[in-house]
Amino acid sequence: MAIEVRIPTILRSYTGGAKVVEGAGDTLADLLADLDSRHAGLRGRLVTDADALHRFVNVYVNDEDVRFLGALDAKLNDGDSITILPAVAGGAFGFAAAAAIASHTVATRAAAAR
């Protein structure tokens, strides 16, 4: 009678280093509240002040992106498996590097134009 939640490396400071924790809740919002009662601060890293999922966090219910299942209102069932991951859509290296150069180039051009 529990929902298994996989925690990414970067957030394990909130779970005492645990890779997988268990929680309960009828919706993702309930589950995150339940988790926060035992792992204080975890919810705050995943949910914004406006009660939305953080833009750079992806949450999957049984491998499906929760944003297409109702986001924080997504219904959960006992036995579900939740995976939390930082957003690194696609080639993690390529995008990181490309985004950095692009923003750098824009900044350089803006400086040159002044």
């Binding site: 499906e64 290296f93 490309a98 180039t105 350089t108």
Partner: protein, 321 residues
């Protein structure tokens, strides 16, 4: 078949292949559920990225951003670099690729063969180091042109103008389109086109879930979502782990004789999920998915043979899609 004036003109127009053995069986009298593979490995350099590379270069030429003899800078760990190298060669540009050292040896050999120059970012510092290296290169060479596939509308446009129409022409009864989510160009372009033309079409994303080594380097506040990404184009989005991707990649060649890379395995995994749902609900389905590239470039990983656990281990820490 057909004849073309140059290799660039032979880009796209790839075959759509039925998969009668992998398509799930339906109960007698139930509507058919069929899987179809679009063989993007039949493009000039063997991957779907030829479409985006060609469109991005042509757009930059039309905009006057690229002039003969210019240098193109592309941070890439994969197929885009190979595609751009071929296009750059034929259109008269120099290509410099920046990439981490943990990509497969075949990719490096291919890039060099097509004439690209490679600058490696030190692997020790992880992604932060890679970003720093890329920034430094851009600073030293402000005249180099970066096409930036993650935010370049011509990337999605390539699929809106070619991949989408090809699919609709070959499979007017299409109900689902499934592709990989990287730059998001394939899904955004093809997805927009099909949504305009096919009522109720489902646009399904399959996203690779790498080993922890890849994510371990990330801070959540420094996440990346490509500028091209528009979630409203998608119907669903699946995260597919290394083991499932390898399993399906092997199944595709064993059952249907299609030898593909591991990103295709991830896409097939999501395709089978929606196909089996259709069977369960008694709905007709024609699920078309993308075969991004062939398996040749990944043979050295050893992940096509041996146990799944060994394969998973050999891909751990690699960007396999």
């Amino acid at each position: 078949m057909a004849r073309y004036d140059s290799l660039l003109d032979a880009c796209g127009g790839t075959p759509l292949i039925g998969l009668p053995r992998l398509s799930p069986a339906v109960p007698e009298g139930a509507p058919p559920v069929r899987l179809w593979a679009k063989l993007e490995d039949r493009n000039p350099t063997g991957s779907i990225k030829d479409r985006a590379a060609l469109f991005m270069v042509r757009r930059a030429e039309a905009d006057g951003r690229l002039r003969p003899g210019d240098t193109i800078l592309e941070p890439t760990s994969g197929n885009t670099g190979i595609s751009l190298a071929m296009v750059a060669k034929l259109r008269g540009y120099r290509l410099v690729c920046v990439m981490p050292e943990n990509v497969s040896i075949e990719r490096i050999q291919l890039l060099r063969m097509y004439g690209a120059e490679i600058i490696f970012s030190p692997p020790a510092g992880g992604s932060n180091q890679a970003v720093a290296t890329a920034k430094q290169i851009a600073t030293e060479h402000p005249d180099w042109v970066m096409l930036y596939q993650y935010g370049n509308e011509a990337n999605a446009r390539a699929h809106y103008e070619t991949t989408g129409p090809e699919l609709l022409q070959d499979l007017p009864t299409i109900t689902h389109f499934v592709a990989g989510l990287g730059t998001t160009g394939t899904l955004m372009g093809t997805g927009r086109y099909l949504r305009e033309k096919v009522e109720g079409i489902q646009i399904v994303a399959a996203e690779p879930r790498y080993g922890e080594l890849v994510y371990g380097l990330r801070n959540i506040d420094e996440g990346y979502v490509p500028e091209l990404y528009d979630a409203t184009v998608l119907s669903r989005r699946f995260s597919v782990g290394t083991r499932d991707a390898v399993l399906r990649t092997r199944q595709l060649v064993e059952v249907e004789g299609i030898f593909a890379g591991f990103s295709t395995g991830a896409i097939l995994h999501a395709s089978l999920a929606v196909a089996h749902e259709a069977v369960r609900d008694g709905r007709r389905a024609d699920v078309a998915f993308v075969v991004c590239d062939g398996g040749w470039k990944y043979l050295s990983t050893g992940a096509y043979g041996g146990t799944l656990a060994d394969a998973e281990e050999s891909l751990e820490g690699q960007l396999w899609a």
